[in-house]
Symmetry: C2
Subunit: 451 residues, 2 copies
Amino acid sequence: MDIIKPRTLSGFMELLPGKQAQFERMLEILRKTYASYGFAALDTPVIEDAQILLAKGGGETEKQIYRFQKGDSDLALRFDLTVPLAKYVALHCNDLAFPFRRYQISKVYRGERAQRGRFREFYQADIDIIGDGKLDVLNEAEIPAIIYKVFQGFGLTRFQIRVNNRKILNGFYAMLELSEKSGEIMRTVDKLDKIGAEKVKAILMDDCALTQAQADEILRFIAITGTNSEVLAALEGYAGRNEIFDLGLAELKAVTANLAAFGVPEANFAVDLTIARGLDYYTGTVYETTLLDHPEIGSVCSGGRYDNLAGYYIEKQLPGVGISIGLTRLFYVLDEQGLLNVDLPSAPCDALVLPMGGEPGPAIALAESLRSAGLRVQLYGEQKKFKQKMAYADKLGVPFAVLLGEDEIAEGVCSVKNMKTGEQSKLTPQQAAEYIRKELAENNGPVILEK
Amino acid sequence: MDIIKPRTLSGFMELLPGKQAQFERMLEILRKTYASYGFAALDTPVIEDAQILLAKGGGETEKQIYRFQKGDSDLALRFDLTVPLAKYVALHCNDLAFPFRRYQISKVYRGERAQRGRFREFYQADIDIIGDGKLDVLNEAEIPAIIYKVFQGFGLTRFQIRVNNRKILNGFYAMLELSEKSGEIMRTVDKLDKIGAEKVKAILMDDCALTQAQADEILRFIAITGTNSEVLAALEGYAGRNEIFDLGLAELKAVTANLAAFGVPEANFAVDLTIARGLDYYTGTVYETTLLDHPEIGSVCSGGRYDNLAGYYIEKQLPGVGISIGLTRLFYVLDEQGLLNVDLPSAPCDALVLPMGGEPGPAIALAESLRSAGLRVQLYGEQKKFKQKMAYADKLGVPFAVLLGEDEIAEGVCSVKNMKTGEQSKLTPQQAAEYIRKELAENNGPVILEK
């Protein structure tokens, strides 16, 4: 037979079992946290009608999308979870209760140029709250509060959710009579972190044709920093000059106050006037999230408020607020930085039952009894030497090996070996289950370690 | 703006939130059960190199596969989880511990002709155990024992796992000197349930060119029925005439005995000599699973023992045993038949906190406190009339609404309304959490109801 060399496509993450166990733990924390805030799980198709996915069009998307024909159908793979959500809500709006809250943790596809740390297939973990016609600003505080809970659940403390409001920016540009250029200006200002103030100013003057006075005013504005109350106080100085600005400021104050009520410490969120998000799509509160010790990664979780989710598909006005974690990239970076907690058990089982010869019946019964006590148990059925069995237990990284020989069967016990300490003790199946459960409970640290 | 009519492609399942909650429950049972037997979670890419997926080739697969170019790459979507597993094991074999046990619950893609109840994107829920060179027959009993646990977990009792062994069939055909035609004969015999004995006999004689004596002998053989011990006893009558047959019989006896040791009742498994599985791939034990009250559905879970998982990719001999549940189709059929337990809560939250005006702080604090008690809680933030709030609670189907007005805040309590009984009582947040948890625990039936 001809052999075809096996390979996984570049840009596609495929993890070994131990790493996958770490990733699954993050998925589990995400699902639990999102569900605890009353978000419904959703699972839309990977393939959609290309016309529908590309309703908005746009350069990068058109280039990156996986699009193909099958029979007469013009198909494409989803490149995010927002467009499929818009289609879903438009299609099923009569069956949904609004506000509609959904989470979706799924793979999306972008045929980007292959590059280290960039993925063509990657998980997004999204939450969105969609209103029918209206949506209260309270939701704009709840969304980052949930992200705080997720990151806390991961074991992270050194992160910051940065919050701004597009209305403040739009209102401010209106004061300067620069409304028509506001999109362009915001995209430039968005690069502040990467290129610095001098270059931003140069682009504003050279490319956007602003006067030096206008550029200085903008740089002064986005240089407003300090504690959240200091920033809000400085913004009050601009109040009363533009309605949109005032509305944005009121929203930002509400979000800030409510974030505190949700129990998010000030250390973990900051009002930051440089955050604009590149997309025209957002109309109010916007979010970015950075790991304080790894600013080079950029935002690991972004989103914001939008006024019209599904305008391409229905007339109904559907405002919403949402946020998305780029999970595959986050996991990749955490792993690269050595921040994943490798002390957490990553073996597929808590206990490996090793029969020491004879009929398999007693070993099967032992394994089943440990399972009913809630343990994940593998029964080793191969006819191998003792040494090979223990080498397998080692390679799997199982925390406990449970040996069952003729002596143990006669005594109604099993020999439980703690693979870390080497200690071995004869216990009844019930004692064994209790002992293993207790030991595992003590070894239950965070998924991510900060260094 | 031009409106594009939203639609979901035909053959792609997209569920409303309540139905999705039912589906998620089945996923959760599958993940937990598979993990409890020491299977590692795996997550391979949806897109693979087309050459690799099509290494085996074959008519139906070539026709149905979603295959496309992106740049210079010849890509395709996986059509099952076995081929990607073979690639994975071949690629990573030095990093894996054998026996390697993995589960994968993922979507696969087949561009089948559109048809009611047939899906182009569907979930498979697979487990496989792969050995390096050898794999003990004990694993061939464990696999159906796990499936028994899964179906039991779903709430099903009226199902039967039917077991056979290809070696018995191959050995038997060798006795009749029909080895060369055994593939052809087995594919014909496989249709027994659908077309009946008379037609099978006709095809055997007309198309396979068997003598009447040979055809009769085959029909007599596959007509061996009765309890498992009766069938095994009848098979003993053929023993000693062919080595392969004898080996298969020994394996079948071992599987039968061990299935009993795993606690699988005889009512839920049956030795059935008509089971062959269409694929040449299987070499020993084979499985099919039928819902006893819905034989028309056919097998909902099939698999078996194979001798060479990854022969297309490496020289290494990797025998294995695996089984696959066609989850999307199973869910669709259960739903169609009205067997999903609609009494289970399908709302995205256990409690909906309804602030009755004033600042949101106290309502946020109440919601957070109920969440820390383990409940899934939605905070309703919209400024609406009481009637509209209750209508929303009804539409969502939440089991409990938790009202918080000025009176409650002053008293340090909240009003918990049981939406089913209409009863309402003033409770402290802690009492509320305990009460709701207790009521929910009582409403915890099986996912599937048998009628």
